[in-house]
Each structure stands twice: as structure tokens, then as C-alpha cells.
């Protein structure tokens, strides 16, 4: 059978072998956690605690503040020591961080009313998901309860489970499927129940045959189908995934719901299962600690707010001189850390430690119009032209040529034989274009 896919994309080295066979281990509890008030897209959570206050694991310490926002919870049992400002590596801006010192083992504060989902109304389930502070754990960190609340007049036809995991190095979703397949299927059924969807597809790349096998087994008899995708980056990008499975294009500037789809990532589904069935707020999640710079790469469950340094201490790093960069996420879209004294947040599915020999500087040449960037762009943009427009500050033109449609997957930069940093200029261009638009409105 032909594998499902989309047009464009690249084939970076997969590097999954570093961690794909390592069973998920639960990391020991951290001594101190640092919890951002913006552990999600949208407005920062309103802080509910003050220094000196004792908190339990799972206790709500920040409340969703606005329509697109999410609750935050203490990920350990201990005492709030201080509230400080720290740079959020994801956004680059400074955010409030609640610092909690652990004083003992977990004393859980569970969500009320949790339990058998089939006896609950969709509204009650969405309320639990909201209460649990669940956001998109694939990295986007969009509040899940907002996604599950289908606006009036719209209808979701199918649920798509993003299990492509196309980023090199990262293996946590792969391991989750192998080790938690039953729980994930239950999570899928919970979401279907809450959204009124009666068909679900699990999209998995062909390079994870064991996960495909395992999930096929787990979904037998359910209205859930496993779809095998071509191993190609960025197969897990939302629009590309929806296209590969349904052959429908999410309209430019639109949402998956516009083509009747809602998309959840594997880890998010597991978190929803844990919240609804067990009453656990989102205080821990799975992560892959990997890269040539890590001594013992593997997959782990960690508490949100643990410092990157504490996670890396556990797996050990190679000699400092060999390390080039450390990323939140994988090498294609990952965020480089300026230092490792930074806390993790809900969207962290990986810490990738890259060594100098893997991430060498590329020799720069002028653009020779080879058209590689045009060939690989999954959105059908003309990256070379967009870059010229951004450089010349012709933002109106760049917008007309689809600047805002760029999904920042990095395929063009990856493929460019001239070593030109195309995506970097699109990110800057988007920021400027947005700012200009804001100014024009005023």
C-alpha cells in the first residue's frame, strides 16, 4: 500500500536509534521547580499563591486568565519560595515564574469528579481538561479545552492523532505508543465522546513499525484507524498531517476545524486520559533526553518546571568542549537554550544536546537559484523570493507571496546548498509584518 504523504519536505538523518529502544523511566522528584505563568499560548495564568504558602502536587497555583489561557499546578509537594521573572526560551520574553521548594514526597491534590468518562457529559469532560491545565504537548501548547469546545455552527467530523513524530532524535511519542497503547486508546475515546466525533485516525510514520503494530492491536473493534505515513519531514506538521490523511487542505489562515478535523498529539491524549480517569492535573509528561552530547540518552517522565540542568545531570553530558548547542525540542524546529539554568515547560518533548561535529557551520555561498527551497517547501512558497522581499522590507509583497503561510518547518534552510538561513529571515519578517499590521490598525 502506498504510504500517505504530502508534497515537498526533506529527509534529514533520523537519529532515532539513540533513544527509540529505551523504556520510559520516571525521573526522581526534583528539589525545586520553576513554573512559568505562561505555560501555554495565550494570556498568562493569574497567580493564586504567595511566597511561604504550602502546596500539594497537583494543586492549582495559577488560574486561566481569559479565553485562551490555561491553569497551572504545582508539580511537587512543598512550599512556594518566591515569584521571580525569568526569560521564557520559547517566546524570548520575561515571564513570572513561581518557584517551589519540595519538602517531601507527593501528596496529591486530585481534580474532583474524575472517573469513568462514559458517565459524563461532554461539558463535564471539557471542564476536567480545563481544570487539569492541559495544553498541546506536541510543542504548540494551545489550551486543549479550547480546542475541544467546538464553536456553534461548526462540526468536527474526525479526530486526527498526530503520532508522526517526524522531528529527528525525538522518540517519546513512539515509546508512549509502545508502553501506553491502551491508555492512549482510552484517551482517544474520551476526546471523541467530548467532541461528538465518531471517527479517528492515528497517523504514524513508517519508521515506527512496532508502534504501528501495537496501536493497530489496541484499536481493533474501535472506530479508530491507524494510518501509515511516509517517513518524511515535516510529516507531523498539522496541515501536512491532515492533508496526508484526508487529502483536504486547511485554508490559508484557517484552522483544522475548517476542514472538519481536530488534531491531538499522542502525549496530549495521554494527559487527557490521566486527567479524566485518574484526576491528575498536568504536572508531569514524557520527554526524550537525547543527542550525541548525552551520555545515556533515553525517554523519561519528568515534572514540569524542572530545570534543564537537572534533567541533563541525570543522563550525563559529554565533555563541555564538544557540546555545540542544547535545544528544547529537536534539531529542525528546536529552540536553542542560552544556558541550562532554565526551567522546562509543558511543551517540552525533548532536550537535544548537539555536538560540534553534528552541527557544523555551513559554508556560505550566494543563492544560485537552484530551486531546492521551492521544491521542498510543503506550503508551496517560493522561499528565495520571500527572503529577498523581507530583506528589501517589501512586506506587502511578502504577505502577498504567503509569508504568513510559512509554517517555519525549516525544510528550505535544511536543503539550501548555499547555506542561506531562509526560515530565520521569515521569522523576523513575520514579527515585523505583524507589528506593522498592529500599528496600521491603531
Amino acid at each position: 500500500m502506498a504510504l500517505l504523504s504530502f508534497k515537498g519536505g526533506v529527509h534529514p538523518p533520523e537519529k532515532k536509534e539513540l533513544a527509540e529502544h529505551k523504556e520510559i523511566k520516571v525521573l526522581p522528584l526534583p528539589e525545586k521547580v520553576y513554573i512559568y505563568t505562561t505555560n501555554h499560548i495565550g494570556a498568562p495564568a493569574k497567580i493564586l499563591v504567595e511566597p511561604g504558602q504550602k502546596v500539594k502536587t497537583g494543586q492549582k497555583i495559577g488560574e486561566a486568565n481569559g479565553f485562551i489561557s490555561a491553569n497551572i499546578h504545582s508539580s511537587v509537594t512543598g512550599e512556594v519560595v518566591e515569584i521571580i521573572k525569568m526569560t521564557n526560551a520559547a517566546s524570548g520574553s520575561k515571564n513570572d515564574v513561581i518557584v517551589i521548594q519540595r519538602t517531601g514526597d507527593d501528596e496529591w491534590d486530585f481534580i474532583p469528579n474524575h472517573g469513568d468518562y462514559s458517565k459524563k457529559s461532554p461539558k463535564e469532560i471539557i471542564e476536567i481538561v480545563k481544570e487539569a491545565g492541559i495544553v498541546g504537548l506536541g510543542g504548540a501548547m494551545f489550551p486543549s479545552h479550547v480546542k475541544m469546545s467546538i464553536p456553534e455552527g461548526k462540526k468536527a467530523d474526525y479526530l486526527i492523532i498526530n503520532a508522526a513524530e517526524c522531528e529527528p532524535y525525538i522518540t517519546i511519542d513512539h515509546r508512549m505508543m509502545l508502553e501506553k497503547s491502551k491508555e492512549i486508546v482510552k484517551g482517544i475515546k474520551i476526546i471523541m465522546h467530548a467532541t461528538g466525533v465518531n471517527k479517528a485516525y492515528i497517523g504514524i510514520e513508517s519508521n515506527k513499525p512496532d508502534a504501528i503494530e501495537k496501536m493497530k492491536e489496541a484499536v481493533s473493534g474501535e472506530p479508530i484507524e491507524v494510518k501509515v505515513l511516509k517517513t518524511k519531514y515535516p510529516q507531523g506538521a498539522e496541515k501536512q498531517l491532515i492533508y496526508a490523511i484526508t487529502k483536504k487542505e486547511v485554508p490559508s489562515g484557517g484552522l483544522p476545524l475548517d476542514v472538519g478535523a481536530i488534531v491531538f498529539n499522542v502525549s496530549t491524549i495521554y494527559a487527557i486520559y490521566e486527567a479524566v480517569e485518574k484526576g491528575k492535573p498536568l504536572v508531569e509528561r514524557g520527554i526524550t533526553l537525547t543527542g550525541e552530547g548525552v551520555k545515556n540518552p533515553g525517554n523519561f517522565i519528568y515534572r514540569i518546571g524542572t530545570l534543564a540542568k537537572d534533567l541533563l545531570d541525570y543522563v550525563g553530558l559529554v565533555e563541555e568542549e564538544k557540546i555545540d548547542r542544547i535545544l528544547y525540542g529537536g534539531p529542525m524546529m528546536g529552540i536553542p537554550l542560552p544556558n541550562i539554568e532554565l526551567p522546562t515547560f509543558k511543551g517540552n518533548n525533548a532536550l537535544t544536546v548537539m555536538t560540534k561535529d553534528v552541527a557544523p557551520d555551513k559554508e556560505l555561498f550566494p543563492c544560485i537559484r537552484c530551486s531546492k527551497c521551492v521544491q521542498v517547501c510543503p506550503i508551496n512558497l517560493m522561499p528565495y523570493l520571500l527572503k529577498m522581499q523581507v530583506e528589501k522590507r517589501e512586506y506587502d509583497k511578502a504577505l502577498e507571496y504567503g509569508l504568513m503561510d510559512c509554517i517555519e518547518c525549516g525544510s528550505c534552510s535544511y536543503a539550501c546548498p548555499a547555506g542561506i538561513e531562509l526560515v530565520k529571515s521569515f521569522k523576523t519578517g513575520k514579527k515585523v509584518a505583524r507589528a506593522l499590521k498592529g500599528r496600521a490598525k491603531k
Binding site: 534529514p12 534539531p331 536553542p336 559554508e363 521551492v374
Partner: protein, 326 residues
């Protein structure tokens, strides 16, 4: 620990512009071998001489005039040099080549700002410059294997067709003009254009390596084939066969290696198809009605000028939009 915070993606392909140029040079090796076999060592010397001249000129421009101390040759000058040599007649002498190479590297490339910025194919700028400046040398053709015979010069198949008519092709006494000889390359012509076979081998190599804008040669050659077929079907006693038009003259060299020059051709598939159609049309208009026997060089230069326009009008439909906007 000092961490690098360079922008994503943090993995890059190992590909480079230099590797692209090396692949083009490798693809031209079969043609270099056939040219040397048909036209002797003189052909080989011309090719080497032009390549070296081109590299030396580029080094001088980059290091001395443009003060790029760290400049390392990227191979693009060698490609221009070799392609220019392949477009020359054996009759040109050393100082004519020197002037031609100067035209290619300076007028064809560096006046525009160097690699990637030129509008026209630099090798063709060099060739056309020489064609205008040294018309006699540039149109004096050596017969194949001339080094074994007493007579040296003759006419090319396309020139015979243009001047003496189609009947002369079948009973040309000087050497055989069969489709086979045209395919293998044992006919007179520019140094590197005679062997369709050798050029096709190089083309396949570039396709396998993903180094070529494949729609350009496909549409260019098909367009020539279709137009030639129409005329041939109308009057086979007056017009040459479509296969003759494909194999004779510089069409193969032009379609496979000159029109596909990355810098001077469109980037989108749609654009490449438009480009190829235009090339085929102009080539056939010149061949059938023009004053020159051969229209490949001019068609490519004319279409080169249209590339910026084609690129804009042939932009692909953005994912998630309908044709003509949202």
C-alpha cells in the same frame, strides 16, 4: 558552558554550491571524451585552457578587485569556462578565447554582481560575443577526425540544410550525415555539441543526482520535436525530419546544459515549462526562417531575459488557497 544559540534548523544537509558545480563538471566528462576522440587533442586543450582562464579571472576579480580575501573557488567559473569551450569552433585561436572568456566572466557574470546575480547565461554571452567579433573563426568547422585526413574544414549539417537545401543532406560527399552519426557525434560542429549520446549520459547523471531543472529540457526538446514534425509532415521534401532537428546543432547541449543553468532559469515547475516552450518556439523560428542556421544560443539568451517575469507569473498555488487568492 558556552552554548550556540544559532537559529533553527540545527541540522543542515551536507550539500553545497561547490558540490553542485562539481556534479555539472562530472556530467560533462562523457562529452569531453567524445569531443577529444572526434576532434583530437586540440579540443581537449581548448577546454582546459578556457576553464583555467575562467578560474584565474574569477580569482583575480574576487580577491583583488572585490577584496574578498576569504574567497575560495566554487567551481562555477570552471563550469562557465568548460561550457564556453564546448560552444566554440576548433578554429578559434588563443587570444580570441581569452577575449571570449573575459566577456563570459566579466560581462556575463561579474558586472551583475557575480555568482547567482547574472541575468544571462555567462557562457553564452561569451559565445555570442565571439560570434559577433570573430565570425569567420567561429563558423569555420573542422570535419570529424580531421587529424587523419588532408582536408580539414567543412560545413555543419544545419548549415548544409540552410544553404544547400535538404537534398544535399542525403548525398553530401564529404562525410556521412546519418541519424546515427548525429547521435554518436561524428559530425562537424562546436567542440562539445556534436554527441547527443554523451550529453544524454551526463544529463542522466544530473537527473539521478537531483541537480537539474528537468522540465526545461523536456519541454524544450518536445516543442522542437512537435514543430519540426508539423513542418516535416507538411512537406518532407523541403523540411528536415524532427529527429534531425533534435540531434543536429547545439540543441542537446543547449537544452540539457545551457538552458538548465540554475541561475538563469525559472525556479517553479510551471515557470520551467513556460521557459522550455519559449525556447523551443524561438529556436525553431530561427532555424526555419532566420538568417542563422542555428537558433539555440539566441533563444536561450532571449528567454533568460524573461525569467524574472516568468518567475512572478508562474508562482505556485500556496497550500490552503484556491487559485487566484483565498
Amino acid at each position: 558552558m558556552k552554548l550556540n544559540v544559532a537559529a533553527a534548523p540545527h541540522l543542515r544537509s551536507k550539500d553545497s554550491v561547490r558540490a553542485v558545480m562539481v556534479d555539472v563538471l562530472i556530467a560533462l566528462i562523457p562529452s569531453v571524451i567524445v569531443s577529444t576522440w572526434v576532434f583530437g587533442l586540440r579540443a581537449l586543450w581548448i577546454m582546459l585552457y578556457t576553464m583555467i582562464l575562467a578560474e584565474v579571472m574569477e580569482l583575480f576579480i574576487m580577491k583583488v578587485l572585490r577584496k574578498q580575501k576569504n574567497f575560495k573557488p566554487d567551481g562555477s567559473a570552471s563550469v562557465t569556462g568548460l561550457l564556453l569551450a564546448m560552444n566554440l569552433s576548433l578554429a578559434v585561436n588563443w587570444w580570441q578565447i581569452l577575449i571570449g572568456t573575459f566577456a563570459a566572466i566579466v560581462l556575463g557574470k561579474h558586472v551583475y554582481g557575480g555568482l547567482g546575480k547574472n541575468v544571462f547565461n555567462p557562457a553564452l554571452i561569451g559565445r555570442v560575443f565571439m560570434l559577433i567579433s570573430f565570425p569567420v573563426a567561429m563558423t569555420t568547422w573542422y570535419r570529424p577526425f580531421y587529424y587523419k585526413f588532408d582536408t580539414i574544414t567543412t560545413a555543419t549539417p544545419l548549415a548544409i540544410l540552410k544553404e544547400k537545401g535538404i537534398d544535399s543532406l542525403s548525398n553530401w560527399s564529404d562525410y556521412t550525415i546519418s541519424l546515427k552519426s548525429l547521435f554518436v557525434g561524428t559530425v562537424p560542429g562546436s567542440i562539445g555539441e556534436v554527441s547527443a549520446l554523451a550529453l544524454l549520459i551526463g544529463f542522466i547523471y544530473l537527473v539521478v543526482r537531483g541537480r537539474i531543472k528537468i522540465w526545461i529540457p523536456v519541454t524544450y526538446i518536445s516543442t522542437v520535436f512537435v514543430i519540426a514534425s508539423i513542418f516535416y509532415l507538411v512537406d518532407p521534401t523541403k523540411y528536415a525530419s524532427p529527429l534531425f532537428h533534435l540531434l543536429a546543432g547545439g540543441l542537446m547541449l543547449g537544452a540539457l546544459f545551457m538552458a538548465t543553468d540554475m541561475v538563469t532559469s525559472p525556479m517553479t515547475v510551471k515557470g520551467q515549462i513556460i521557459f522550455g516552450l519559449g525556447l523551443g518556439l524561438i529556436t525553431m523560428v530561427i532555424r526555419l526562417f532566420g538568417g542563422y542556421p542555428e537558433g539555440v544560443s539566441f533563444s536561450i539568451l532571449i528567454m533568460n531575459a524573461l525569467v524574472p517575469l516568468i518567475d512572478i507569473y508562474a508562482k505556485p498555488r500556496i497550500f490552503g488557497t484556491t487559485r487566484g487568492g483565498k
